[in-house]
Symmetry: C2
Subunit: 259 residues, 2 copies
C-alpha cells in the first residue's frame, strides 16, 4: 500500500505562525524529512517519528528519498520553513515525479501545504510595504544565471515595483546585492526606504530600516535567513515603519488639513 507525501511549509519559525494544516499533517506523518535546521523548527512535534536530517546541498537526495519512502507506504512530511511553493521543494518533487511517470489523479498522494513565506512574515513586521504591485527576486545565482537576475531587477525597477529579495547574500555570495543596489539607484532616489529583516519571528530576529543610499552599511545583517524589501517611488517611512500607500489618500482625501 502506498503512503502519502506532504510537502509542508511551517512558516517563519515560530509555531504561532504555522497553519493548523501544517501541524495536522506533521502529526499524521510517521516519517519526517528535511534540511537539519528546518527539522529543528518542529522538534517538539516529531518525537517518536523516524527522522531524516539533511545538509543544505542535498536537495535531490532529499526529494528522491521522500518519494521512495512514501511509495513504500510511509506517511512522509518533507518540512521546510516558509512556504515550499515559493523557491521551495515543491518544484523538485514534481519534477522528479513527472519523470517517473507519476499520475497525479490516481498515483501517489502528494499535497503541498502552503505556509507564511518570508514575503508575508517580513512585510508584517516592517509596516505595510506590499500594498501595491511587487516583484519577488532571489539573488541566488547557483541555479539561475546572474545576467537573467540582472534583467529582472532592471525590469522591476522600470515597472516601479516594490521589490522583495530572497537569499540576498551568503558568505561567498556578496556582489549580487551590491550590484542590485547600484542598478536600482539609476531608477530610484537614494532615500528610497529599505528594510532588512533577519530571522523573522525567531528569537534572533533583527530588523534594520535604512534606505538605498545606506543599506551597504548593514551587510552584517545579510545571510541565509535574511530578506530585503526595497520600496518603490511612493513608499515612505513613518517612524520605524515602511508604508506603501494603496492610493487611498488621494482617492478618499484622508488628510484633514491642507498639506
Amino acid at each position: 500500500m502506498e503512503g502519502k507525501l506532504y510537502i509542508v511549509g511551517v512558516g517563519p519559525g515560530s509555531h504561532d505562525h504555522m497553519t493548523f494544516r501544517a501541524k495536522q499533517v506533521i502529526e499524521e506523518s510517521d516519517t519526517i524529512v528535511g534540511y537539519d535546521t528546518y527539522v529543528s523548527l518542529v522538534e517538539d512535534l516529531i518525537k517518536g517519528k523516524e527522522i531524516h536530517r539533511y545538509a543544505m546541498t542535498q536537495e535531490v537526495e532529499r526529494a528522491k528519498q521522500c518519494i521512495d519512502l512514501a511509495r513504500e507506504g510511509r506517511i512522509v512530511s518533507l518540512v521546510s520553513s516558509g512556504d515550499p511553493g515559493i523557491y521551495g521543494m515543491a518544484g523538485l518533487i514534481y519534477e522528479i515525479l513527472a519523470e517517473s511517470g507519476w499520475e497525479p489523479d490516481n498515483g501517489l498522494y502528494v499535497e503541498i501545504v502552503p505556509g507564511v513565506s518570508a514575503l508575508n512574515s517580513c512585510a508584517s513586521l516592517v509596516g505595510s510595504p506590499l500594498m501595491t504591485d511587487f516583484a519577488v527576486v532571489s539573488m541566488s545565482d547557483l541555479l539561475v544565471p546572474w545576467d537573467i537576475i540582472v534583467k529582472r531587477v532592471e525590469a522591476a525597477a522600470q515597472g516601479d515595483y516594490v521589490i522583495v529579495i530572497y537569499n540576498p547574500a551568503s558568505k561567498k555570495r556578496i556582489h549580487q546585492l551590491q550590484d542590485t543596489r547600484k542598478l536600482l539607484l539609476k531608477y530610484r532616489k537614494p532615500t528610497t526606504p529599505v528594510a532588512i529583516i533577519k530571522g523573522a519571528y525567531r528569537d534572533s530576529q533583527t530588523i534594520v530600516m535604512t534606505d538605498l543610499e545606506n543599506m551597504e552599511k548593514y551587510s552584517d545583517q545579510l545571510g541565509m535567513i535574511s530578506t530585503v524589501i526595497i520600496g518603490n517611488s511612493s513608499t515612505y517611512n513613518f517612524k520605524n515603519l515602511m508604508i506603501n500607500p494603496r492610493g487611498y489618500t488621494s482617492k478618499y482625501n484622508l488628510e484633514s488639513t491642507p498639506a
Copy 2:
C-alpha cells in the same frame, strides 16, 4: 486604558490554512470588525463578541472605527481573508495612524498577523509555479491608474517573470485582463501555461488549467475570489499541474535517459 488592534489574515477561507496566531488573537478579541464575507469565514470563532460587519467599499470607515474602538479600550480584530499585508487593510490602518500622530513604540498596540495569501494558496493547488522570480500585479484600477498597471505588466513580461494576478476582473471591470493577455502574447508563446483558481480551499473551489491562447474562454471563472497565474518561458504543464523548474534539471542532470 487603551486596547489593542490586531489586523488579522485568516488565510484562504478554510480554517485548516489559518495560522495559530490568527486564531489566538481572534479568541483574545472582544470586538470583531470586517467586510461581511470575511467575518462569515470565522463565524464559529466569534460567538458572543461584538461584531461590526461592513460592505466592501467602506474601507476608510472600517479602518477608522477599528482604531477608535481600540483607543476606547477594546481588543479589536480587523479580519480579512488571505494576508492583510498584501493589498490589504494594513496600509490604510498605518496611514490613518500616521496622520493622527501615533507613536508605534509607546502608542496604541497594533499587530499585523500575516496569513496564507492567494499567491501562496493558489500556487499550492496547481503544482509548483513559483519556483523562480515572480511579479504580483493587481488588475484593479480603482486606486492605481491603468497606464501604471500596463507599464508593470510590460516590465514583468520583459523580465520573464512568472506573473500572479490579483483581482483579475469584476462584473464591471473586464478589459484589464484581456488587455494584459494581448500584451503578454507579444512576449510569450500562446502555449504559455495559465492557471485560473477560484475560491481556493473553499467548498466552491474551481481550477482551470489553460494557456495564454485559450484563457479568454474561461471568463466565467473570473471574479472577486479568483487569482490567475501565468507562467514564464520555462513553465511547463505536466498532466493537470503547472511546473516551473528551479534550474535543478540542468544542474543535477535529473534525467536518466538522453532527451
